[in-house]
Amino acid sequence: MLRIRNLVSGYGKIKVLKNVSMHVDPGEIVTILGANGAGKTTLLSTIAGLVRANSGEAEFKSNNILKIKASAIPGLGCVMVPEGRQVFAAMTVEENLLLGGHAVQKQGRKVLTALLEHQYELFPILRDRKDQLAGTLSGGEQQMLAMGRALMSKPSLVMMDEPSTGLAPLIVKEIFQIIVRLRDEGNTVLLVEQNAKAALGIADRGYVLETGKIIVQGPAEDLLANKDVQRAYLGREK
């Protein structure tokens, strides 16, 4: 579904990603682990078209997405839930969600309403807050809104950048359940997480990114068992 080869990318002169190759197959959850500043966000942003790649290839459903405008990528079915809380602060929750449905708008109002319903089911709190300005939501609520908004376009690949940041443990669990559920419904998820243990717990495969290079990759169980990964990302047991 997504295939990346020798991707080099960064900001101006600074090259953050140095030759990254990876792939995501349909229906799997792939997680990317890495320390702060390793380049995880940069990788997702490059795929989403927000950051221009310097060289390499990235193919999504046989489209060369490095050549496509950022705004056209969601239309192909590849969306990103950004790091931080990039909600439309001065607009209501419902408007935020509707905007997420931009890519499927052409399919008509019915589809949009159904999708809206679907998100409210996934995140009931959003229904209660639907007329509140998104900027005044609590941190966790904003995070959920950002996810709901991304899911509004019925994407085939969802890229999530640290979705559990700032969420209560119970909600984190819920989020991870939702991710699993998405996969079970046939979606594909590319997940960036600090919470390595939880991420590997639900992922099929994983990559470890360090200073812009993939240093370890493999099935989730292998990574969980990997000594280096254990030492660097899993730490002591609770």
Binding site: K69, A70, A72, M80, A90, L99, H102, A103, S153
Partner: protein
């Protein structure tokens, strides 16, 4: 005060007020997609009027107006494409200064194309001295054109922004461009669209008001200042607010002549507006939260 005089003042106030409101709405449209104030808005009004006047030599009035509006829209698009589109995440102040520069340049273009003299479109109905009488007050029919045109624009835009998806998308761009891109919205096109829209509205205003106020190359500055005042007072981004504030300003101005010398008219009306703003820092219809969230 006699009823006759009252109505006369009121109609004068509504006339000014509608004009201010249209200019303010032009500001709001661009503000709503980009989060900036386009200080060249007044020049769109000038271009609309001036171009229509020039075209009048070649075509009938309605045609001239339509073509002038279209040309001004094109100018709006050109300005956006040349000066704004290719900037990567420019700061608000930077954009404001650029639009001030554009406004100055547009004025220069105006004076070199049309000279410093005043011009005007003919009255749509009748001529300079035609008027009809209500309750003893004499009103020029052109006033009705101005009021009707602004009313229609306000309602149309209100519907556009609140209910259509394009309107919503334009607002999303103002709120968070990156997120809008991630939703698949082509933010650059939205911005261009907003310039086209507000140029068109400005130009139309420039045409309907031309018979009353005349058109001149430097008419933009004064209108921009009044329009800006009204947009802020109404609450940035709110068209309803712009109308209310515009009418309020117009009516205050009109009635103020009955109590203070005309020379102090602006000083008084602006002092009143400032007082209102101190009591409601987010403007009449702006939401407090929205005002607090949009940083300069």
């Amino acid at each position: 005060m006699t009823t006759e005089l009252f109505i006369q003042y009121l109609m004068a106030g509504i006339t000014y007020g509608s004009i201010y409101a249209i200019v303010a709405i032009g500001f709001n449209i661009i503000y709503n997609t980009t989060g900036i104030i386009n200080f060249a808005q007044g020049e769109f009004v000038m271009f609309g009027g001036m171009i229509a006047i020039s075209l009048l030599q070649f075509m009938p009035l309605p045609m001239a107006i339509i073509v002038a509006v279209l040309i001004t829209m094109l100018i709006g698009a050109m300005i956006e494409i040349c000066f704004i589109r290719w900037l990567k995440s420019p700061s608000v102040l930077r954009m404001i200064i650029i639009t001030i520069g554009i406004s100055i340049l547009s004025r220069e273009v105006g004076v070199h194309v049309w000279g410093e003299s005043i011009r005007s479109l003919p009255y749509f109905f009748g001529n300079e001295i035609t008027s009809f009488v209500i309750f003893g007050a004499h009103i020029s029919p052109q006033v009705l054109w101005v009021v009707a045109a602004s009313g229609l624009m306000v309602i149309g835009l209100g519907i556009f922004f609140k209910t259509t998806s394009v309107g919503r998308e334009m607002r999303a761009c103002a709120s968070n461009r990156k997120a809008a891109t991630l939703c698949g919205i082509n933010t650059q096109n939205m911005v261009t669209l907003s310039f086209i829209l507000s140029a068109g509205i400005g130009a139309l205003a420039g045409c309907v008001m031309s018979p009353i106020t005349y058109s001149q190359y430097d008419m933009g500055t004064g209108l921009a200042i009044k329009g800006f005042t009204v947009a802020i007072l109404g609450g940035l981004g709110s068209s309803g607010g712009a109308v209310a504030a515009g009418l309020l300003l117009g009516v205050i101005e009109a009635f103020s002549v009955s109590v203070v010398p005309l020379a102090f008219q602006d000083a008084i009306s602006i002092a009143i507006l400032l007082t209102i703003l101190f009591v409601r820092p987010q403007g009449l219809f702006g939401s407090k939260e929205a005002a607090g969230l949009s940083e300069f």
